[in-house]
Symmetry: C3
Subunit: 142 residues, 3 copies
């Protein structure tokens, strides 16, 4: 049994989805661990890390539409407003959609479903540098 620690840096372009599946799969391959568990933790509180459909991009558009309605920017009752109208809404969006994932690894690949992709969802309107802490534990061969 062995383990590997890593980090993925993502430069976001402002609010929206950034797919990271292939970069994470590449890191898993580089470790040489073919069977095990891969854990991802996004080290920020105003962006999220989630699994969603990787086929029709309309799904991501509808997610933005829905969340913008559910957690309005500039909500009149919020008091944490010093960093702008998208700051507190970004914190809430991050908590509702999550910042960590655990994905089994089989035959050297992430055991995702056919239509699943891993996305970093930036909730701030301006671009940010985001870091994902990676951990993998397992064995070289299954």
């Amino acid at each position: 049994m062995q383990q590997a620690l890593g980090e993925l840096v993502v430069e976001t372009r402002g609010r929206g989805f950034h797919e990271v599946t292939s970069r994470i799969a590449g890191w898993v391959r580089e470790t040489g661990i073919g069977s095990g568990l891969c854990t991802l933790l996004l080290q920020h509180t105003s962006a999220s890390l989630l699994i969603q459909e990787n086929a029709d991009p309309d799904v991501r558009t509808d997610f933005e539409t829905f969340l913008a309605g559910l957690v309005p920017d500039g909500h009149p009752d919020f008091i944490h407003t010093a960093e702008g109208p998208d700051d507190m809404s970004a914190h809430i969006r991050a908590t509702l959609t999550g910042v960590h994932l655990g994905v089994p690894v089989r035959d050297g690949r992430l055991a995702l479903g056919t239509w699943q992709g891993i996305y970093l969802w930036e909730h701030r309107t301006r671009p940010h540098t985001r870091r994902i802490a990676l951990h993998l534990i397992g064995e070289r061969s299954a």
Copy 2:
């Protein structure tokens, strides 16, 4: 230290909760690993995997009531509509309630609380075949 990989297939009966606690506990027992960490990943984007109360079934009824109001089927602003009015709402319900879990294993048993059960929540109105990828790492005896 050793690990095991597995899969659980659940045939859902359409929208609603399907408890999987005992099937997962059975798989853990079969592996012979008595102490460790069990990770579950649902390989779909329109159903979810969550821990909730296993006592009063009214809790699950109220969850359905609440989510149906929060994420309406056939939302007029959604554009991902080709697969029916329950498709995009199912994706959003899945992301808000999660698709993966990590549960410590102690003395051969899942370290759940007294009132906790593990549920697959089908969000599509029609029955589906759903797969949960399983991973367990640990030791034979504590």
Copy 3:
């Protein structure tokens, strides 16, 4: 490779956030495992365990404001009401914000971002005794 199992007991003061970061970091240090993966599972269905900003306490106030509006206590359509108006809302708040976390450990420390803290969020209005099951797997030195 080695592992450790533990438990953290938190006495809550009723609805609100209770930071547990330093207690969990202390437990990790005591195990002597300096590099690995720490998993936390809250063994309850009416409180949650989440990562959020640890700087401005206004963030937590706004979270309370938002969730109280999103999931009203005493919702007229709920039927699980025997334990009071805050019971069913607490279950839903718990599921929307999560009950488990996986955090990589590097150089003996939780690999959290600068502004991230781990919180137990009590959703019931009365104080409760809450238990978090802990699991850590890894190596003594990185």
